[in-house]
């Protein structure tokens, strides 16, 4: 009886290949730093070792993925779940990009609203009110009590 071929663990195979590519790119960059001498190793020595480690680890991971099937299928998010993750991720990116220009109060309110939205918190109005309150209270707590410097942005001055 002929046994069925082993299906590769595609996600782990992808990670292994990505590791090899990343490690190779890292090695290319690492070669630009001086190696020095055995008695005075330069800043390029350690990165060469690290890059080799990544390439070897990536190869081993890829080979292992070809030889061993996945223990269980990966539960990638789909449909509404993917939308929720995308929404929260996008709000986080907006927070980072516009933090200094628009300011913490506005981007924090947007991020808070999005977080409540993905959790299905009550109504749109309730989310808007809560987001504004959370933004204002956290801004006061963090800047007033803890003395952190947060950009006030368009609401400052």
């Amino acid at each position: 009886m002929v046994s069925a071929p082993i299906a590769p663990n595609r996600p782990v195979l992808g990670i292994g290949i990505a590791g090899v590519v990343l490690g190779a790119g890292y090695l290319v960059q690492a070669r630009q730093y001086p190696l020095g001498s055995p008695a005075a190793p330069g800043p390029g020595v350690f990165p060469l070792v690290v890059g080799a480690l990544m390439v070897v680890g990536g190869l081993g991971t890829a080979i292992g993925a070809l030889r061993r099937p996945a223990a269980r299928p990966v539960g990638w998010p789909r449909g509404p779940a993917l939308q929720r993750i995308t929404l929260l991720g996008a709000a986080a990116v907006v927070f980072v990009v516009f933090l200094r220009s628009i300011g913490y109060p506005v981007v924090a309110a947007l991020l808070a609203y999005t977080a409540m939205h993905v959790c299905g918190y009550r109504t749109v109005l309730a989310r808007l009110v809560c987001a504004a309150v959370i933004s204002a209270v956290t801004y006061w707590l963090l800047t007033g009590l803890l003395g952190l410097r947060l950009p006030p942005g368009i609401l400052g001055g």
């Binding site: 663990n9 055995p38 929260l88 980072v96 808070a112 977080a115 959370i134």
Partner: protein
């Protein structure tokens, strides 16, 4: 002057309204910043440093030291309740502590963490008091080859956490070490892998890495599930107390964690973080129920939390006895002395014994204050879970973002956090554990620095790594750790060894503490 005489003098200095207030404020503030994910002790201490110039030297040190070891306890609270580590050293507690919370044992986990921290911290203070000069001298006697071997052993021994295969562990370790090389080269000051970005000159910070690797995936998984706002069952008073069986299992773990942590703390480097992982592995290896680790084993909370607090206290040894900070937090403590015009170093004990012993006395009082104040406040922390899921998620997300931003006032840190968060989420989905990355960040600079210094010392002769007995022994142990899994498979091919917990968040039945069903 005997140690006891010194301690009594220190108590006399400590027992003033100002200094006692400094203890209370320090531990409470430390617990608060430890609880809030992202806003770590370093940020709080750095902010307070400016204000300490108006205080007396011993008061300044007492306040900052209180924040330092208070945060060690506070970080465990967020790890247990939310599965999001409040600081890097609380990462391990999130593994089993959060699982206990999901089973309704949050109070027990928090109590064991509090008591373990108190016991470990108090015993460690005794160690500081009695053995500071001797222990510091032993630590100084170790050279770069020993530090290289220790760092190598730590990385390889712990790289297979989470069930990663050897190859996967090497890949993830390599990735972490690559991150550690970004910025200024520790020896020559050459900029590496910054690609012209000034923001990367100082390298990748530990806070964005820790939050990105462990906090962001949690939040993404909550969003993925779309946790609904459900009432969380209130925790009754009696649920705050561990059962007799839980105490029986915790006490030996607390004892061992104290020893592991204290020994790690007195050595150079951010070993408190490593000591928590080492304690977890030790407890799993010694446990009669190793299968429970990663699923809510109480030893997985008791041991690492005790190790963390003991190591945090142990780090006071070199800074008080030698004036040498072995971590960023103790560097800030030292800065407080310099701001006061006091020269730290071995002469601190003889020239300013009042400061030396007052700080040690404050650590006894501070540990007691942590236990007395935080056990009643456990109910308050647990009640946080009763907030609607959406509101809780909004607060946690904001604190995570702000905490990372505030660490260096840099949006680059936020970018790093989000990028690592996305990578960690993907890796966890396919069953890989990302814990080795943070170990590599912590130990990478030590590894490279000590390697290069060793070769400087020996003028390029690699024999320096085998001529010294301690180095040779450590390297042999490392080799055994690397080849042992392969040997085990050769001897027992039918049994696949598992040396670590399931990857954090990879278990299909994992559910978040936010939006738990009411029972």
């Amino acid at each position: 002057m005997t140690a006891l005489d010194g301690l009594l003098d220190g108590i006399a200095v400590l027992v003033t309204p100002t200094n006692l207030a400094a203890v209370a404020v320090g531990v409470l503030l430390g617990t608060l910043v430890g609880v809030l994910p992202g806003i770590g002790p370093l940020g709080a201490m750095a902010l307070l440093l400016v204000g300490t110039s108006d205080l007396r030297p011993e008061t300044a040190l007492i306040l900052l030291a209180g924040v330092y070891y208070g945060s060690a306890y506070g970080g465990s609270t967020t790890s247990i309740l939310m599965g999001i580590p409040g600081e890097a050293a609380s990462v391990v507690t999130a593994i089993d502590g959060h699982r206990m919370a999901l089973r309704g044992r949050a109070g027990a986990a928090l109590t064991v963490a509090a008591v373990g921290s108190f016991v470990a911290g108090t015993i460690a203070v005794v160690g500081v008091m009695l053995f500071a000069p001797t222990l510091a001298a032993w630590g100084v006697a170790l050279g770069p080859p020993e530090y290289f071997a220790m760092a190598l052993l730590g990385l390889f021994a712990l790289s297979r956490l989470g069930g990663n295969t050897t190859a996967q562990g090497l890949l993830i370790l390599g990735f972490g070490l690559a991150l550690a090389t970004i910025g200024l080269d520790p020896v020559g000051g050459v900029t590496r892998f910054t690609f012209g970005l000034d923001a990367l000159l100082q390298g990748i910070g530990l806070v964005p890495v820790a939050i990105g690797l462990f906090g962001i995936p949690e939040l993404l998984e909550i969003a993925e599930r779309g946790a609904k706002a459900e009432r969380v069952r209130s925790v009754r008073w009696r649920e705050l107390f561990p059962t007799r069986r839980e105490w029986r299992r915790s006490i030996p773990a607390i004892s061992r964690g104290t020893v592991v942590g204290f020994l790690a703390g007195i050595l150079p480097g951010p070993l408190p973080v490593v000591s928590t992982f080492a304690s977890w592995k030790l407890e799993k290896r010694l446990s009669r129920h190793p299968e429970e680790f990663g699923q809510g084993a109480i030893e997985g909370v008791a041991g690492p939390e005790s190790a963390n607090n003991a190591a945090t206290t142990g780090q006071m040894v070199p800074v008080l006895a030698l004036g040498v900070p072995f971590g960023p937090a103790t560097a800030i403590l030292l800065s407080a002395l310099l701001l006061q015009g006091i020269q730290p170093g071995p002469q601190l004990l003889t020239v300013h014994p009042d400061i030396f012993w007052a700080v040690i006395a404050s650590m006894y009082v501070g540990n007691l204050a942590l236990l007395v104040l935080n056990l009643p406040l456990v109910g308050l922390w647990v009640r946080i879970l009763r907030l609607p899921a959406g509101v809780l998620l909004a607060l946690v997300v904001l604190f995570v973002m702000v905490g990372t931003f505030a660490d260096g006032n840099s949006t680059t840190d936020l970018v790093v956090m989000l990028a690592l968060g996305a990578i960690s989420y993907l890796l966890r989905k396919v069953g890989l554990d990302v814990t080795p990355i943070i170990l590599a960040i912590v130990l990478g600079a030590i590894l490279e620095n000590s390697m290069r210094q060793s070769l400087f010392m020996s003028r390029g002769d690699l024999a320096v790594f085998v001529e010294r007995p301690a180095t040779l022994a450590l390297l042999l142990v490392t080799a055994i750790v690397v080849v042992a899994p392969a040997l085990r498979r050769l001897v027992r091919p039918s049994v696949r060894s598992r040396t670590g917990p399931p990857a954090i968040g990879a278990a299909e039945d994992r559910s978040s503490s936010i939006g738990r069903r009411s029972r």
